[in-house]
Structure formats: structure tokens, C-alpha cells
């Protein structure tokens, strides 16, 4: 559909622009402002240039949580994307079952982050939780997310899978539904194997929704804060302390405004950069 050039359309966009500008530009300017100043109180502040950035970039806390964050987000993508695709492929396309599936799958998406944390906090405990009880008492696997760092880490990952795989699956399902039936018929006539159908019909047609799914899951997992906070408070040790928590501690807990602001900007830029890499990588392969 050809769009018409019409600069008056700005009037329609203006409310959105003003609203988002109010919520994004002013705070962002504050952050930038803080990141280059040393502030004691309202009257005494000094320009420090890139000092805070230098300090933050050399801070081992950042390195630690950044590394943990990347491993975590990587795992999230590696598990949720294939799993989501697989679920979307098995979902029935018609009838009551498909509506039921869709509705059940949306339930976890609508639970507040901290309640998700609470559910698993309860579910995983050895004394009162079904999961903890089955693992410890029935299967004899020692499991305690509050004491064991790797247990805690895996639990946070499972929570994310539980919480968000449905979103990936629903997006993929939506992409799959957009494929006309004749493609499947043609493939059957060509005697294509299931794998070939997936590789040459379903995957190419799902590409644009997959891009969205990957970006969303990357961004959101990279910003994860509430679930590990509720479950373990970032522990044991620092095993589940991710970037957002490090930042929050810095800004609200220790009130290190300057470094926290610099940290914020670095954090934001990393997300932008990685998203851009994903975006170009996935759209570039299409051009060739």
C-alpha cells in the first residue's frame, strides 16, 4: 500500500511524542547530567568528565554481573526460542483445544513478576513446595535454591522459561498461522520431509516474528530484576545478582548517584548495541 506524504500527520503523533518525551527525554537528561558530575548537595556539584565512566567500567561488580547477565540471557534465548518454536509447531490450529492452549499459555504472562517469584519460592522449597519435595525426598536429589548457588541460578532460569516461553510460542504460532495451506500441500506433493517443511517453509516465514521474539526475550531477560530479588535476594553469594540489581543497589542503596548514572548509560548502550547486532544479523541474511 502506498503511503501519502502528509506532514500534518505529526499532529496525530504529537500526543505520543510528548508523552514519551516526558517519560524518556527528561529522565535521560537527568541521568546524563549525573553521570558527568560529582554531587554533594543541591548547591555543590562538580563536573568530573568521564571519571565515573572510567570508574564504573573498571568496577569488578560490573564485570561480574555483566558476565553473569550475558550467560543468563544466552541461556534464556537458547532454551526459550527453540522450545517456543517446538511448542508452536505442536499447537493445534483449530477448534476448542487451540483456544484452550492459547488461554492457558497466556496465564503466566499475566502474573506480576514478584508473584512469579513467590510462586516458585514456595514451589521450590523442600518443606512446603511440591518441586523441592519431589526432588529431595522422592528422587533423592539434594536441592536448595537458598543455599546452593547453582541451584539458585538454575531456578531463576527455570522461572524465566516458565514465565516467558509462552510468549515466544504465541508469537511463533501467530507467524505459522500466516502461512497459507497451499505451501504445506505443495510440500507434501514434493514429498518433503518434516524437517524440510520446517527448514524451507516454516522457518523462513517465521523469520520476522522470530526476530521480534529474540529481541523481546533478549531485552527483558537482560533487564531481569524482580524474580531473583524475590526468590533469593541476589544470593547465595552474588550468584543471582544481575545488572539491574547491581544498579539498583548502587543508586538507591548506596546513593552513589554519579557512578549509578554512568552505569545506567553503559547498561542502556549495551542493550541497544546487542539489539542492533541481532537486528542486522537477522535481516541481513534475508537480503542475500
Amino acid at each position: 500500500m502506498s503511503k501519502v506524504q502528509n506532514n500534518k500527520a505529526w499532529w496525530l503523533v504529537l500526543p505520543v511524542f510528548l508523552l514519551v518525551a516526558f517519560s524518556a527525554i527528561i529522565p535521560m537528561m537527568t541521568v546524563v547530567n549525573y553521570s558527568v558530575q560529582d554531587i554533594f548537595d543541591q548547591s555543590s556539584r562538580y563536573f568530573v568528565g568521564a571519571d565515573w565512566f572510567r570508574q564504573v567500567l573498571q568496577d569488578p561488580r560490573l564485570h561480574d554481573s555483566l558476565l553473569r547477565q550475558f550467560i543468563y540471557s544466552g541461556c534464556v534465548l537458547l532454551i526459550e526460542i527453540p522450545l517456543g518454536i517446538a511448542i508452536a509447531l505442536t499447537m493445534p490450529t483449530k477448534g476448542r483445544w487451540s483456544s484452550l492452549c492459547l488461554i492457558v499459555m497466556t496465564i503466566p504472562l499475566l502474573i506480576p513478576f514478584n508473584v512469579v517469584g513467590t510462586i516458585w519460592q514456595i514451589f521450590g522449597r523442600g518443606d512446603i513446595g511440591l518441586l523441592g519435595w519431589i526432588l529431595n525426598d522422592v528422587l533423592g536429589i539434594s536441592y536448595n535454591y537458598a543455599a546452593n548457588a547453582s541451584d539458585a541460578w538454575v531456578t531463576v532460569l527455570v522461572i524465566d522459561v516458565w514465565h516467558w516461553t509462552s510468549l515466544v510460542a504465541l508469537l511463533c504460532y501467530s507467524g505459522l498461522r500466516a502461512i497459507p495451506d497451499v505451501y504445506y500441500q505443495a510440500a507434501r506433493i514434493d514429498r518433503a520431509s518434516n524437517w524440510a517443511v520446517f527448514r524451507h517453509i516454516q522457518l523462513p516465514k517465521m523469520k520476522s516474528v522470530l526476530l521480534i521474539a529474540v529481541m523481546l526475550r533478549f531485552m527483558d531477560s537482560f533487564m531481569i530484576y524482580t524474580e531473583p530479588f524475590v526468590l533469593t535476594g541476589g544470593g547465595p553469594g552474588n550468584s543471582t545478582t544481575f545488572l539491574s540489581q547491581t544498579l539498583t543497589t548502587m543508586a538507591l542503596g548506596q546513593f552513589d548517584l554519579g557512578p549509578a548514572a554512568a552505569f545506567s548509560l553503559v547498561y542502556f548502550l549495551i542493550i541497544l548495541l546487542v539489539s542492533w547486532v541481532f537486528y542486522t544479523a537477522m535481516t541481513h541474511s534475508e537480503k542475500n
Binding site: 488461554i103 504472562l109 514478584n114 509462552s166 544498579l247 539498583t248 538507591l252 547498561y267 542502556f268
Partner: protein, 272 residues
């Protein structure tokens, strides 16, 4: 009729397992919310032996508990209304016209979805304090617009592009003014899109805690923040915590129920 369409139960087993995986933790929460604390701590039971509504009674009789729900619902609905009402005209502009800087604007809107809420905690706190909005529902609703408005614009734009622009022109030819056309003809056409958008706005606003907690203290305190109170010196009141958790899931279930057809259609149209 069609061999391919026939749903074989065997093929769906992995799917059932996945759905079970989704539902069991929730069931466990519901199960626990109907137990007394003695039963909870006294050993594992797959369903409440000693069925009680006492935990719910605690919540419904204590104002600080139920006002938490009202606060959350209030700012979520407020956010939904604001997001939809500003996103509808903007999405229309993006779907129908080219204008100066449209691509950049769209991209910039989407980058806001990439900004971690943690980054905005402090500036938001200061901003809303300075204009006297701290601890109000509107503050949280506005803050949530940061990520909901771009999303709403993006989803609605997809739905609107599916409506041929000849419909718009026919309406103008018939003598409709723009607002009249928009309200009477266009909005009913993208009903599913609005349903799906409302669903997503609700979802992201309802589940968010970090900003909501930072921007409120008493008057607009969300339920999610109230829940942290169950941890007290005497330990955790598991039964009440579970009941409160169940109650936070309910509004979501209600929303799904109301927009289920739109959501199913929206997903099925391949346009979400």
C-alpha cells in the same frame, strides 16, 4: 474431513506436558491459599485437608491489603486508557502517511522499550517528586507509558495497515469528518487489534513492580509491594501470601476471558 487436520492425541503429549508445567506451580499456590499455616508447615498435601477461607478473609478485611489491589487496578486501567488513546491516532498516522522523520520517530519509540526500568528509577523518582505527582496513581500510569505506548503504537499499526485505505476514502467521500470516521467506522474495524493491544498494556503494567514500587509509598502502593509485608519478624505468613498471590492472578484471568476471542483472532491473523 482432512487427514492432516486430525489431531492425534499422541502427537500432542509434549504439549500437554508443557501446559502441565505451566499449571502445576499455579495449582500449588491455589492449593496452599486454602490451607491453614499449620497444614502448610505440617507436611505435604496435594489438596487442602483442612479447607479454609481464613487467608482470604485476612486480605478482604484489612484495608492495606485490599487497597493495594484497588491501587494496582486503578493505575493499570489508567495506563491502558492513556496508552490506547494516544496510540490510536499515532498508529493511524504511521499506517497511512509518510511524514518528516517518521522512521526515526518510530525507531526512537521502540528504543524506549529497550531501556531497563532500573535506569529510570532515580530520575523518575526525582521528576515526579518535583512536580508533586509522587505516590499518585497517575505517576505510575505515566511511567508505564514509557514501554506500553511504543508497544501499543506498534501493534495497532500492524492491524491498521490491514485495513485498506480505500475504506477511509469512501468514508470521506460519503461525507464523514475525520473524527466521525475514526470513531464510527475505523475503530470497530480494528476491534481485535484494540483488544490485543489492551491485553498487552494490561499485562506489562500489571506485572511491573520496580517502577510502581519506587514511585509510590502509601496512597498508591501496588499490591505487589504490599505482598512483601507478609515477611515479618515472626516469619512468613505462607497462607496469606499464597492467597494474595492467587488474587493477583485473578484480574489477569478475567482480562484473558474477556478478550480471549480477540487475542485468539489476533494471534491467528498472524498479526501480533
Amino acid at each position: 474431513m482432512n487427514k492432516r487436520e486430525k489431531v492425534s492425541f499422541k502427537k500432542l503429549i509434549p504439549l500437554w506436558i508443557y501446559l502441565l508445567f505451566l499449571l502445576v506451580p499455579i495449582y500449588w499456590l491455589i492449593n496452599m491459599s486454602f490451607k491453614t499455616n499449620t497444614e502448610i508447615l505440617g507436611g505435604l498435601t496435594l489438596f487442602p485437608r483442612d479447607f479454609t477461607l481464613a487467608n482470604y478473609k485476612v486480605i478482604f478485611t484489612d484495608e492495606s491489603w485490599y487497597s493495594g489491589y484497588i491501587n494496582s487496578l486503578y493505575y493499570v486501567c489508567l495506563n491502558m486508557v492513556i496508552s490506547l488513546s494516544v496510540a490510536l491516532p499515532a498508529a493511524y498516522a504511521f499506517s497511512r502517511y509518510r511524514f518528516l522523520g517518521d522512521k526515526h520517530l518510530f525507531f526512537w519509540l521502540l528504543t524506549n522499550r529497550m531501556a531497563p526500568p532500573a535506569v529510570f528509577l532515580l530520575p523518575f523518582f526525582q521528576l515526579y517528586s518535583s512536580i508533586g505527582l509522587f505516590d499518585t496513581h497517575i505517576a505510575v500510569a505515566l511511567a508505564h507509558c514509557l514501554f506500553n505506548v511504543p508497544l501499543a503504537v506498534w501493534i495497532l499499526e500492524g492491524f491498521m495497515s490491514g485495513v485498506p485505505k480505500e475504506i477511509d476514502e469512501t468514508a470521506y467521500i460519503d461525507g464523514y469528518s475525520f473524527p466521525k470516521f475514526f470513531g464510527k467506522i475505523f475503530i470497530p474495524l480494528i476491534g481485535s487489534g484494540i483488544g490485543v493491544t489492551a491485553f498487552f498494556c494490561f499485562m506489562f503494567s500489571w506485572v511491573e513492580l520496580l517502577l510502581a514500587r519506587t514511585l509510590t509509598s502509601v496512597n498508591a502502593k501496588p499490591i505487589a509491594a504490599v505482598m512483601t509485608r507478609t515477611v515479618s519478624a515472626s516469619g512468613i505468613d505462607w497462607g496469606v501470601l499464597a492467597a494474595a498471590g492467587v488474587l493477583t492472578i485473578l484480574p489477569g484471568m478475567l482480562v484473558i476471558w474477556f478478550v480471549r476471542n480477540h487475542v485468539v483472532k489476533g494471534f491467528a491473523l498472524g498479526r501480533v
